[in-house]
């Protein structure tokens, strides 16, 4: 059965794909903000990450802390096979939805 992803969930998953090995909370937040071109609450990203992990679309592991973080560890995220499939399905669904569309005259 297809896993349905919301727009924000897609943005978070795409950020993790783009960041590769550097996908931890703050970096994901920055990437999502850049791509969506708006300010996003850090909590919104963390809540979404937890939800995606509960749905087995993500897995995470702890990394070392830095002095800037007062030694607190980073949690790094990566897509699971289910996560990759869900993202591919979302992309295919979006492509199908927009196929054949030409921008309406006078609206751009």
């Amino acid at each position: 059965m297809a896993v349905l992803l919301g727009a924000f969930e897609q943005a978070v998953l795409l950020a993790i794909v783009r960041l590769r090995e550097d996908a931890y909370g703050r970096a994901i937040l920055r990437e999502v903000q850049t791509r969506l071109d708006r300010t996003v609450a850090a909590g919104a990203v963390h809540v979404t990450l937890n939800r995606l992990e509960r749905r087995a679309l993500l897995l995470s592991e702890l990394g070392a802390g830095t002095e800037l973080r007062a030694g607190r560890p980073r949690r790094y995220y990566a897509l699971t096979t289910e996560g990759r499939q869900a993202l591919n399905q979302a992309h295919a669904g979006m492509h199908q939805l927009w196929r054949g569309y030409k921008p309406l005259r006078g609206t751009i």
Partner: protein, 209 residues
């Protein structure tokens, strides 16, 4: 130089966060505060930013409790209000049912008990339940008091001075303090239950404290 956000806000955040996310999420916020917000916006605005982030987490933890309590308050006003009037008629000698005041107290208390227990369970901290109870009671009481006073101010401005008088403000403050204290106390009891249940569960699963 490593600047630090307000200590109380950081302590509050760590109190509300689940044990699993406590270090990582507070670390992410601290890193952003030190690395980008403080250098570009200065101390005051950076502190305001940090408090807003903590507020987001607080609201996330409390919104369901606040919504349930507000819903109950409005339902009890709509359903039990006429019943209470009928009770008044009963005291005047007309046979009517007695207004069930327990129905106006027990459901909100149960919601606060549940919220306190759930918060303490999630955060693995006893005081998380009390914190959620305090914030939820404070917000709900403020909304209800505003709902009580604002109609006078809007539709009967000539009576607004009554609401703004010293005695009225004293009474409103008394209501705010007493309901918030009661709500916090009930949620603290829930927090106690949540903490005990959490420890019992961890002992049962053989996890070290």
């Amino acid at each position: 130089m490593n600047h630090t956000p307000p200590r109380w806000a950081e302590a509050w955040l760590r109190l509300l966060l689940p044990a699993r996310d406590r270090e990582t999420v507070s670390g992410d916020l601290l890193e952003q505060y030190r690395d980008s917000v403080h250098p570009t916006q200065g101390r005051l605005r950076a502190n305001a930013w940090y408090v807003a982030q903590v507020g987001w987490f607080t609201w996330r933890r409390c919104w369901l409790t606040v919504s349930l309590l507000l819903l109950m308050s409005f339902v009890s006003q709509a359903v039990l209000g006429p019943w209470a009037i009928a009770g008044g008629l009963g005291r005047a000698g007309i046979a009517t049912p007695v207004p069930p005041l327990l129905l106006m107290v027990v459901p909100p208390a149960l919601v606060l008990l549940w919220a306190g227990a759930w918060a303490s369970w999630r955060a693995s901290r006893f005081w998380a339940g009390a914190a959620v109870g305090f914030i939820a009671s404070l917000l709900v009481t403020k909304v209800l008091l505003a709902a009580l006073v604002l109609p006078f101010v809007i539709w009967q401005p000539q009576l607004a001075w009554v609401a703004m008088s010293w005695e009225s403000l004293r009474d409103l403050t008394l209501i705010l303090v007493s309901t918030t204290s009661a709500g916090t106390a009930v949620a603290t009891l829930g927090g106690l239950a949540g903490t005990v249940a959490r420890r019992a569960n961890r002992s049962y699963l053989g996890i070290e404290h």
